[in-house]
């Protein structure tokens, strides 16, 4: 069974909670005690039946205010796949949560209310999905029951949405008309929209092809931990533990270690279950080399003829996530990239992007909470990196405030040529 990570986004009242509740309910992932609890709450509020949206209500403050504050994780499985939902609220002020939820997602569901069509929030969500390079986007055109299941409405929204998405880097876009409330086209096919010939949402989630989304071309192995047993039996054992970030590694392959530049061959790829013939993302393994060369945490193994970019001048799109501070030229920050921490200074803010209009404001002097811009950085040590477009794991980094230790920015590296 495969694992699919999905992120959901929608503005308040588009029906996101109802949709997730419906997916969990119809896939039989909801337990009786949870149902009883929400039936009870629905009753207390003076409503009838069970409000599926309550299933995804989390913290006390959220229940009191009737809104979602933070990324919540939900789990369900069908016989074909296991799903992890990163559910993020859609309010303007929560761009940072959306970015968080989107960073590891294979697929995102963008909700659109059929009565309202494509609004700014739908655009913002789609832009973030494309910025974070979520490979698959599903546009769920919801509340079709409120527009008489009208195909015209669906087609108009599809056209509007496609016109907007054409300006972005979106590879796979799928439109599904549905009613989350009544269940049409969520798990079961709609009987009210026989004009729609595509898949139901769940069927699409089960079938969408994700195995080619990871980078299997460029070998990238950030060394995480050096394993040196202190026992007689393994006196000469020296293994480099880490998680494969790209490519396929095999014993016998020639590799180069960065930053030293020394080359060697892979002697063996070890796991606690014994050596393996191949390692690919996201396997956690331990690599042994034929030669003894000096390698430590933060170094990277790759192939001599296919190496990452090595450099201290980085250009990136940054999403700023701090309320307490802003990013300005000359800001000094800690930066974590793969398994390496360095310090960095902001050299230049090239522009701030208006995520609704995609307008570039080149006169901007700072990035505030939830703002996104293109930035030039200088790091204290070279980063062994790729562009984010090429590899989400070696092309991403976080920025951390050195006094508060809080994560204040998310960075996606772009080509600086």
């Amino acid at each position: 069974m495969e694992l699919l990570r999905l992120a959901t986004a929608g503005s308040v009242d588009d029906g996101k909670s109802t949709l997730i509740g419906r997916l969990l309910y119809d896939s039989k992932s909801i337990f009786e005690d949870q149902l009883e609890a929400i039936a009870e709450t629905t009753k207390q509020r003076g409503d009838e039946g069970i409000d599926l949206a309550l299933l995804t209500d989390g913290l006390r403050a959220e229940r009191e205010q009737g809104i979602t504050i933070d990324v919540a994780h939900r789990y369900f499985a069908t016989p074909r796949r296991k799903f992890i939902i990163g559910d993020t609220p859609g309010h303007i002020q929560y761009t940072r949560n959306m970015v968080t939820g989107a960073s590891t997602a294979d697929l995102t569901i963008v909700l659109v209310d059929a009565r309202h069509g494509v609004i700014e929030q739908s655009k913002r969500h789609t832009f973030i999905a494309s910025l974070l390079r979520i490979p698959h986007i599903v546009v769920a055109i919801n509340k079709m029951d409120l527009v008489d299941w009208d195909q015209e409405v669906f087609e108009t929204i599809r056209k509007d949405f496609s016109a907007f998405a054409a300006k972005l880097d979106v590879t796979d876009l799928t439109f599904i008309p549905m009613s989350a409330l009544l269940g049409d086209n969520v798990v079961d096919r709609s009987e009210n929209m026989d004009w729609y010939e595509g898949s139901t949402l769940l069927h699409h989630l089960e079938e969408v092809h994700i195995s080619s989304d990871r980078n299997l071309k460029d070998v990238r192995f950030p060394v995480q931990y050096v394993i040196r047993p202190q026992s007689d039996e393994y006196r000469d054992y020296r293994g480099y533990a880490g998680t494969v970030a790209g490519g396929i590694m095999k014993p016998g392959d020639e590799v180069v270690a960065l930053p030293s530049g020394f080359t060697s061959k892979i002697a063996s790829i070890d796991t606690a279950d014994g050596p393996v013939e191949e390692a690919f993302p996201p396997m956690a393994v331990t690599i042994r080399l034929e030669d003894e060369i000096d390698i430590s945490r933060g170094d990277m193994l790759s192939r001599p003829n296919n190496q990452p970019i090595v450099g201290q001048d980085i250009e990136a799109m940054i999403c700023w996530m701090s309320e307490a501070s802003s990013l300005t030229p000359r800001s000094k920050l800690a930066l974590k990239h793969t398994t390496k921490w360095v310090r960095t200074m902001v050299k230049d803010l090239q522009y701030r992007l208006d995520i609704n209009t995609l307008h570039r404001d080149e006169d901007a002097t700072e990035l505030k909470l939830n703002e996104i811009g293109r930035v030039k950085l200088r790091t204290t040590q070279p980063l062994f990196h790729d562009t984010y477009a090429r590899n989400r794991l070696t092309g991403s980094f976080i920025l951390v405030d050195e006094t508060t230790n809080v994560t204040v920015g998310a960075g996606m590296i772009i080509d600086n040529n």
């Binding site: 069974m1 495969e2 694992l3 337990f31 005690d33 609890a37 989390g58 913290l59 006390r60 229940r63 933070d70 990324v71 994780h73 939900r74 789990y75 499985a77 796949r81 296991k82 992890i84 940072r96 949560n97 970015v99 968080t100 960073s103 590891t104 195995s211 990871r214 299997l216 995480q224 394993i227 040196r228 047993p229 202190q230 026992s231 039996e233 393994y234 054992y237 533990a241 998680t243 796991t271 606690a272 279950d273 191949e278 690919f280 996201p282 396997m283 956690a284 996530m321 974590k336 990239h337 793969t338 398994t339 794991l393 991403s396 976080i398 951390v400 230790n405 809080v406 994560t407 998310a410």
Partner: protein, 301 residues
């Protein structure tokens, strides 16, 4: 050849990555070990993460003193087999030192007192990272907690001030006195755990399998007859075929009726069950709707 890991192997890789990351970046990590299946699974993966070397941190049991003997026996056996260092932080000691007062009455539980013993141990040993076996599918507040969960110098969790967590880039930076709770199996469900225990043939305490036991009914759960609980007059003992779905303090962990006496049957039962693990078996979560959130804010696991 398709280059795709199965769901459980992908979860295992994620957990091993997190465990190694913590071992590399924190000075004094420790792994909480209750003898329950989640902590057993976590320890199993810690051993795999560093093989053939030893696990570079100790494990710690927060001991309420109200244990199932089978679990303590299991714990000690596992420690002997792995050679890992075990620290026991005892609630009884905290009571004896006068740090906490014991609840009284038939519903007395030491569950809440664990927080004090835990925070005390963190201070004493100056731990800066504590691995916990919590899963996000267990409970609403957990569903929103990060994998690296920051705690201030009072051990408190601030659900609204959590650090964003992006890609697999974890930020464990902190000042003296602050620490992190680390949840490597956040993304596992109860069923994933059982599949993995089966696939890896992991030894678990036998009380997870169906056995005959003297129990009595309280709050719609079967509580075991132990020296630590006073039964009320109308609570009568009977012998039933039961098993435990979670293992915690004996005074508030309920058993469920079950004929599942081997792992395949347990998996079948868990797959078909319609009640959550905590709903079925944890009296501590039933106290109020926000019970877990409140306890977490104060420093609970």
């Amino acid at each position: 050849m398709t280059y795709q890991l199965s769901d459980v192997r992908a979860l295992e890789s994620e957990a091993i990555h997190i465990i190694r990351e913590v071992a590399a970046e924190f000075e004094r990590p420790v792994m909480l070990f209750s003898g329950g299946k989640d902590s057993i699974l976590m320890l199993h993966m810690a051993i795999k993460a560093f093989a053939p070397a030893k696990v570079p941190f100790p494990i710690m049991h927060i001991d309420t003193g109200h244990n199932f003997p089978e679990v303590i026996e299991y714990r000690d056996r596992r420690v002997a087999e792995t050679g890992i260092r075990l620290i026991v932080a005892s609630v009884q000691d905290a009571i004896d030192k006068g740090l906490v007062t014991e609840e009284t009455g038939p519903r007395a539980s030491r569950n809440g007192l664990q927080t004090t013993a835990l925070l005390e141990a963190i201070e004493e040993h100056r731990f800066d990272a504590l691995f916990g076996g919590a899963r996000r599918d267990e409970e609403k507040a957990r569903a929103k907690e990060r994998i690296y969960s920051f705690r201030d110098e009072f051990g408190q969790w601030d659900p609204k001030g959590q650090r964003p967590e992006l890609w697999n880039l974890y930020n464990g930076r902190h000042n003296m006195g602050e620490h992190f709770r680390i949840f490597p199996i956040s993304n596992w469900t109860e069923l994933d755990v059982w599949h993995y225990i089966r696939d890896e043939d992991i030894d678990i305490p036998n009380i997870y399998m169906a056995h005959k036991r003297m129990v009595f009914k309280r709050d719609n759960m079967w509580l075991a007859d132990t020296p630590f609980i006073n039964r009320m007059d109308d609570e009568v003992l009977e012998e039933r075929l039961v098993r435990f779905r979670t293992i915690g303090d004996a005074t508030c962990t309920g058993a469920v009726d079950s004929p599942a006496d081997d792992i395949e049957k347990v998996i079948e039962e868990v797959g078909a069950t319609r009640v959550t693990e905590r709903g079925a078996t944890r009296a501590d979560d039933r106290r109020t709707e926000a019970a877990m959130e409140d306890r977490k804010k104060e420093g609970y696991f």
